[in-house]
C-alpha cells in the first residue's frame, strides 16, 4: 500500500535528517571517548562545547547505541521516499528507541540529582549539565516523526 509520494519524500527527508544527526553524534561520542576506552587517555577529537557546556560525552558504547538509532531511521528512507507505507515502521521504531534512550538518560539525571540532594560523596561535584547528552537533547527532533506515524492512520490503510 502506498501513500502520497510528496508526503513520502518529505517523510524520507525528515528521517534522513534525524538518522544522519543521530549517527553523526554517535560517531562523535565514539571519537571523543576512544582515548579513554583504549587507555591512551587523549581523545581523538577535541571536546564539543557550547557556552562552556560539554555537549557530547566521551562514551564509546553510548555512541554505538546512537548509531543504531540512526541506522533504524536511515534504513527506512528509501521505502518512505517511494511512498511505501512499510517505511513508516522505521520512523516509528526509530522514534521509539530515541524515546527509550531519552527516558533512560533522564532517569539517570534525576537519580544523580537525588544523590546530589542528599550530598553523598560521589555526587558532591555533580551538576545536571554533566548528564546532558545527545540522547536527551536530540529527542525533541524525533517527536514529530513518532506523532505522525502514530496518528496519521490514513497512511496505514
Amino acid at each position: 500500500m502506498r501513500f502520497n509520494k510528496n508526503v513520502g519524500t518529505a517523510i524520507g527527508a525528515y528521517s534522513f535528517f534525524i538518522g544522519t544527526t543521530y549517527t553523526v553524534f554517535g560517531l562523535l561520542e565514539i571519537l571523543i571517548g576512544w582515548g579513554d576506552f583504549v587507555g591512551i587517555g587523549a581523545s581523538l577529537i577535541p571536546p564539543i562545547e557550547l557556552a562552556g557546556i560539554n555537549l557530547v560525552p566521551p562514551d564509546v558504547f553510548g555512541g554505538i547505541m546512537l548509531i543504531i538509532i540512526g541506522a533504524v531511521y536511515l534504513i527506512g528512507v528509501r521505502q518512505q521516499a517511494r511512498g511505501d507505507r512499510e517505511g513508516l515502521s522505521f520512523l516509528l521504531v526509530g522514534s521509539l528507541l530515541a524515546a527509550v534512550f531519552f527516558g533512560v538518560f533522564t532517569a539517570i539525571m534525576l537519580a544523580n540529582g537525588l544523590g546530589y540532594m542528599f550530598q553523598f560523596e560521589d555526587w558532591l561535584d555533580w551538576t545536571w549539565l554533566d548528564d546532558l547528552r545527545p540522547g536527551i537533547w536530540l529527542f525533541p527532533l524525533a517527536l514529530p516523526g513518532a506523532y505522525l506515524a502514530l496518528t496519521k492512520k490514513e497512511w496505514r490503510e
Binding site: M1, I68, A71, I75, V93, V100
Partner: protein, 431 residues
C-alpha cells in the same frame, strides 16, 4: 519417535500446518476481504524482526536496560549502605568482643553489604518485566532462533537462557519444555554461563571500583561474554559429544501491548523477592561461616585475617590462580562463592573488614589492577555454578556424569578465558 515416523515430519510442524490449513479454509468461506490495514504490531515487527536490525536493536535495548538499572540504583544503594554502616558502627560498641565482631563484620559488614544491591536487582527485574509485558521478549526469542539454530541450539532454548538472567535454577527447570533430549541437555549444559543476578553484585563492586564511567559497559560486556560463550559451547557440543540437528522451532507471537505499571511492578516483586529469601537463608549462613573462618583462631586472626582459617585456605590454593594475579583474598572469596555467587562480594567485605562498597572498592583498587578486576569478573561469570545450580543440573539431567562434566567444563573454561584475558591484557599493556 513413532509419531514422527508416521507423519514424516516433526509432529509440531504437522500440527501447526494443519491448524493453519483449517483457519485458512474457514476464513475463505466466511471473510470478505477489505484493504489490509497496516497495524501497529506489524509496524513494530517490521523493524524488531528485521534481518539486519533485529539483533542490534535488541543489543541496544539490553544496554539501555543495564545502564538504567546500574545508574539509577546508585543513590538508593548508597542510602542502604549508609544504613548498614551505621548499624555496624553501633554494634562495635558491644562489650562482648566476639559478638561485636560477629554483628559488625559478619552480619552488617558481610550480609548488610549484599543487601545494598537490592535496588539494583529490583530495577533490573523491572526493566525485564517491562520488556516481557510489552511482548518484545517473545520477538527476541524469534530473532535469536536464527542464530541459535545455526549454533546448534533449539529456538525454545532461548526462553531458559532469558530466565537465566534472573536465576539459573528456574531457567534449567524451564528446559523441560524442550522435547528432544539432546537439545535439552545442551541447553542445560550451557545455561549456567548466562549471567544470573547473583553475579551482578560482584560485577557492580569490581566494575565500580576499576572502570568508573565505563562500569555499566564493563558489566554489559560480561553478559555479552556469557551469551557468546554459551552459544559457542553449544556449537562445540553439537559437533562433538551431542551430534545431531536441533529440531525446528515454532511459536506464535503475541500482539504488542503497553505494559502497565501495576503489572510490571508485580513481576519485578515476584522475582526480586527470591533474592530477599536467598539473603535470609543461603547468604546469612554464608556470612556466618565466612565470619567464623575469617575470625578464628580468635586472637591470631584479629592480628591479620591472613592468619585466619580463610587466609590458610586461600594461601593453599593461591599458586593455581597466580597466573591471573589473584592472591589469597580473591581465591578464598571464589571458593566460598561456590555456595552462592554473591558470597564472593560478602567474603571480600569480611576479609577486608571494612564496611560499605566504597571502602571495599578502595581496598581493591589499592591491591589490584583493572586487568585483574576484569579477569575476576570473567572468572566469577564462568567458574563452577552455585551449589543450587549444580543440584538442579543433577536433578534435571538425571545424571551425575553430565553434572560432573558441567562442573569440570566450567572450571576449565573459566581458567582458559582467564588466561586469555590476562594474556591479551598484558600484551596491550594493561598489566
Amino acid at each position: 519417535m513413532k509419531v514422527r515416523e508416521v507423519l514424516g515430519d516433526d509432529p509440531e510442524i504437522v500440527l501447526a500446518d494443519k491448524r493453519y490449513d483449517l483457519i485458512h479454509t474457514i476464513l475463505e468461506t466466511t471473510l470478505v476481504r477489505g484493504a489490509k490495514k497496516w497495524a501497529l504490531s506489524d509496524m513494530l515487527d517490521k523493524v524488531f524482526l528485521h534481518k539486519y536490525l533485529g539483533i542490534p536493536v535488541f543489543l541496544a535495548l539490553a544496554w539501555a536496560m543495564f545502564r538504567f538499572a546500574f545508574d539509577v540504583s546508585a543513590p538508593f544503594m548508597e542510602i542502604i549502605g549508609l544504613f548498614f554502616g551505621l548499624l555496624a558502627e553501633a554494634s562495635r560498641g558491644i562489650p562482648n568482643e566476639v559478638l561485636a565482631s560477629f554483628l559488625s563484620d559478619g552480619i552488617f559488614g558481610g550480609l548488610g553489604f549484599i543487601l545494598t544491591f537490592i535496588p539494583l536487582i529490583f530495577f533490573l527485574f523491572l526493566t525485564i518485566a517491562i520488556l516481557e509485558d510489552s511482548g518484545y521478549l517473545a520477538r527476541v526469542a524469534f530473532i535469536m532462533d536464527r542464530v541459535m539454530f545455526k549454533l546448534g541450539l533449539h529456538g525454545r532454548s532461548f526462553i531458559p537462557m532469558l530466565l537465566g538472567f534472573g536465576c539459573n535454577v528456574p531457567a534449567m527447570m524451564a528446559t523441560r519444555s524442550i522435547e528432544s533430549e539432546k537439545d535439552r541437555l545442551i541447553t542445560l549444559l550451557v545455561n549456567p554461563f548466562v549471567s544470573c543476578s547473583a553475579r551482578l553484585p560482584v560485577y557492580i563492586l569490581i566494575a565500580g571500583a576499576f572502570f568508573g564511567s565505563m562500569a555499566s559497559t564493563a558489566i554489559w560486556s560480561m553478559y555479552f561474554l556469557g551469551i557468546v560463550l554459551a552459544m559457542l559451547l553449544a556449537l562445540l557440543l553439537r559437533k562433538t559429544v551431542l551430534r545431531g540437528e536441533p529440531t525446528p522451532f515454532i511459536m506464535e507471537l503475541p500482539l504488542y501491548k503497553a505494559p502497565t505499571f501495576h503489572g510490571s511492578v508485580i513481576h519485578m516483586w515476584e522475582r526480586g523477592v527470591q533474592f530477599l529469601k536467598k539473603a535470609g537463608t543461603y547468604l546469612l549462613v554464608g556470612a556466618i561461616i565466612l565470619w567464623f573462618l575469617s575470625s578464628f583462631p580468635w586472637g591470631v586472626a584479629q592480628e591479620s585475617v591472613e592468619l585466619s582459617y580463610t587466609g590458610q585456605i586461600g594461601h593453599a590454593l593461591e599458586p593455581i590462580f597466580r597466573p591471573f594475579g589473584f592472591d589469597w583474598r580473591i581465591v578464598s572469596s571464589l571458593i566460598f562463592g561456590f555456595m552462592a555467587k554473591e558470597i564472593v562480594v560478602e567474603a571480600l567485605g569480611i576479609i577486608y573488614a571494612v564496611e560499605g562498597g566504597e571502602a571495599i572498592a578502595g581496598a581493591l583498587v589499592a591491591d589490584y589492577s583493572p586487568l585483574i578486576g576484569f579477569t575476576l569478573m570473567a572468572f566469577t561469570l564462568l567458574y563452577v555454578p552455585c551449589l543450587a545450580t549444580v543440584g538442579t543440573m543433577r536433578k534435571e539431567s538425571g545424571s551425575w556424569k553430565w553434572t560432573i562434566f558441567q562442573v569440570v567444563l566450567s572450571l576449565v573454561l573459566a581458567y582458559v578465558i582467564g588466561l586469555a584475558i590476562t594474556g591479551i591484557g598484558v600484551m596491550l599493556g594493561y598489566a
